[in-house]
């Protein structure tokens, strides 16, 4: 479990070299005005293996808006607080729909299909919030990220959060809709406030790869041996990432990359090679499913060259 991946930095450097110059990068997300200002030429990658080896390439230390990648960590936190009771509020089946679809909610009495579509992540946020002030819940989420990444400098980009609060009508619709079915416990504006803020956490590839080590190593931080979650729970979070991590592009990601992963519209993708490594790539241009275009390609190359696929070794 703690053997170093061979040729890791060389491979990461090669891929960075091959991809940095590519111009077919897709479109930067514009629906949150603040996100549209990012430099579309950015490209970063970071891989942390079980031996503690860290390989980086490109803009691996530039913070970006993690957006939906935060859903992996809020799910982890909420499972720790609510246990399997969480699954009464949210399903764990792929939705076959876009990240912000509301149709499925109407057909299934307000229960979101999984914790990685927006509605599901809002329901998970509501569970974390339960009985607390938004500021407290948000502090807890942020401290959890800092703890996992072992980096107290991680912070929330207030401008991005404010931008989402102003323009996030679709997410407001999802929240009010679930509230009408009794799926949310807290005032809608409290839950949305926390949701928009945790999506606005800014982290670098390196920080994200560090923060997600526990998912690659049966719930433990391999550096300290400290257990974040039970092995079973780490496996299960990986399973949900694999089936649901990329909205209506989840099947294609599994097919091409073969790793559990979670993308965000900020252009980041987190991927886990169980027993081997935690990986983050970042390139702001998105494909038509809303996932980082070069990010997915980088992961496909990395998985192939390092033989990381979970579907055959």
């Amino acid at each position: 479990m703690s053997i170093a991946l061979p040729c890791l930095q060389e491979t990461v450097s090669e891929i960075t070299e091959e991809l940095r110059g590519r111009t077919d990068r897709g479109e930067v997300a514009t629906y949150i005005p603040e996100l549209a200002r990012v430099d579309s030429a950015s490209f970063g990658i970071a891989v942390v293996d079980g031996s503690g080896q860290v390989a980086v390439g490109g803009d691996a230390d530039v913070p970006f808006s993690i957006q939906s990648i935060s859903k992996v960590f809020t799910l982890t936190l909420a499972l720790g607080m609510a246990g399997d009771r969480l699954w009464q509020r949210v399903g764990r089946e792929p939705s076959g729909s876009r990240f912000n679809s509301i149709i499925q909610l109407e057909n299934e009495r307000g229960i979101p299909r999984n914790p990685f579509i927006n509605a599901g992540a809002i329901a998970v946020t509501d569970l974390i919030l339960s009985g607390h002030q938004p500021r407290e819940a948000l502090g807890e989420i942020l401290r959890f990220m800092q703890f996992l990444a072992d980096d107290p400098t991680i912070k929330i980009d207030a401008a991005v959060a404010a931008s989402e609060l102003r323009t996030g009508h679709r997410n407001s619709a999802l929240a009010h809709y679930m509230k009408s079915f009794g799926v949310l416990d807290n005032p809608v504006d409290h839950t949305l406030g926390v949701y928009f803020h945790h999506c606005a956490i800014a982290m670098s590839c390196r920080q994200l790869a560090m923060a997600s080590r526990f998912l690659a190593h049966l719930g433990r931080n391999p550096a300290t041996g400290f257990s974040v979650v039970q092995p079973e729970r780490a496996r299960r979070i990986n399973a949900v990432m694999l089936t649901c991590g990329h909205y209506d592009g989840s099947g294609d990601f599994a097919y091409r990359v073969g790793l559990p992963g979670k993308s965000g519209v900020g252009g980041g993708i987190l991927a886990i090679a169980p027993g081997k490594a935690s990986i983050t790539v970042w390139s702001p241009g998105l494909d038509e499913s809303g996932n980082s275009r070069l990010g997915r390609i980088a992961l496909e190359m990395l998985a192939k060259r390092l033989d990381l696929s979970i579907f055959g070794v």
Copy 2:
């Protein structure tokens, strides 16, 4: 890759012992009259590892109707014939719907969401049929199964096929619907005839576990070293099984069992532990998603006790 799994037969025997007596078995499928006649108390399990070790329990040598499990093998065959062109006819995303839903077809111009829902498997069958007589295509599919399992006695249960032909109006609807969009090339009754017959192949747990060894071992038969498909293709078929293999219960199966798998309404489930083993369980009672109830539980126990999950080791 060829190390024998330790304690394999003991574990299989234990699980068989624990599950055989359970009475919460779900309901046997009744929509094909012929399937309803099967003995609901049947329970079988077979595991083949990379060293050639075979462990069996219960009714592991009793043939049953493989039904949708055949879709894994027709996909393999069609990919060999048509290559990636196949993906113009059928997607590879989870559908979020029941096995026989037609809604998705209307919304996506007749292109089935993946090859493991009924519509997708009919489209795959149509590709195999292309330019041949139904009898020839069916012969090819059957010989492929016999070759993979190394067992020339495998055959089609004509009574089951006839029963489906008489009562399969929902599948006829799917086929005519795709035909209206030009997604099928052959006459609808030819394509459906082949489809109903390959679903009616009868195999035992042992035969199915043998036939699917190539999926656990990068496309090769580990006994002979003979390559059935390229490693990349084996990985990808496993990926599609993981995301789409259990209809609207795919996410739950990945979450609980953590292995690529494919179920059939005959009560069989095929599961693949990449690099380790191919597995088949059989118990005719189904849960509400149409997957074998005890079968899923047996796989959950087996994956846990032998540490087979692809999501963390």
Copy 3:
């Protein structure tokens, strides 16, 4: 009830004159190859009032394929045979969907939303067929049309029927789908055979306007006083025409024309001015909802100039 409409022929002649030359006629239906051969410049109109006055314009005596207009007459016939029992097989709500949508069927256990979408008309045809040979049922439908129009020369266009049989996969899908829910009693190919043939009846504007006099006059033929249906039933058929007669363009037709009506993809539209007149227009070019473009405009002009709207006099 039997007062002659003033200025009827003049108005009809004026409208014919104004519309014949228009070139914005929409597209002739091509999905049935045989229909695509019709002369797109055709334009006919016929109005029969309660006094027996008949006003015609253009190609009012040229037979065309009545297509879905036949659904009004099969509904009338089936209500006579099955009475209100018919409404257990088919609803009477607007569908909000295209004429050949299958989505609604899946959501409502195979019960078509109303008798004027294709699925509903197929279910109605199945009721008429019950216990008879297709040839007999078809003979009954044809004789009913001849009787209503008082014209024994009306016949079925065999080439159109054959064309539909060959290409009607979408309708086959609808029929098999309903059969899978037990909504059809007869063999699917029998029901579809009768359905395709009654859609292929060829009639002129004059013949259709004559045949539908009973709907304008409380169920009676005003010339003979003979009662075809009870007054209540005539009203109710008109109500279903108003809410459901033009698929997903029904609301717009009611808004613009203000009369119960039923369109067919052959370019005909039947409209009823209760207490006043039965009307048929024909122009083969269709709008995006599949309704005759000039036909709708002609009816809008006619309703306005003769003050026929049911929504305010």
Copy 4:
């Protein structure tokens, strides 16, 4: 146009007598807590004909919450302000869905199917609001009602409005959803505030029947001759009521009653007999489509006995 309906008061009294004692009244709406407090045994009816004759029965002078019946008047007002430009924001097709469905919005880029489902009425309210403060817009709506009914005592029930503001999450979801597509111009809370308040207007059967005289008489108040809207517009509002006035029960209402109508969850139904009378009935118990159960039956009896159906006279 101004002939008095014969036997009007006798018929109204008979129907009141026959229905008052019935116990199969359906369920009073409970989703707005304030509405649930109404006396379920209430029953009122009022009919105003073109001669100025007013016939009443039961609780015809007890004010009730008009709820969705207000949508008829806001549509009238908005058409006066925006003309046909209104139809760029909202369609006029039956939705085939429940009053508060959001599915259709997702499939049609946020454009509500018609002005009588909740989303459509919210969009219409947003048009009325344009460029004004909520208080001003609301004042305008209220004064319009008072003017039409010739009764300055009509007012808004503040307790009902407050109850809706607190619990109307489903309507909030619809509004935010449309806002995300740019279909609403004003701040969501402004638009919803006006919407909830005009739904909370309290009126009696008599007041509503008086206020809607213009719809029965080509846009004019028959008492004063004053024109509220053009004849064409009155006809068209009636047409939209007929096809869309009762959500997914519109077809059934047209079939049974044969009059344009609009129901509200407060148990009121407004119906128009063009050229003859404006009618309001009130009974708080609702059927499964959310329409007053006894109200619909009363209208069916009235239309039959006075021969009011628009579908055959």
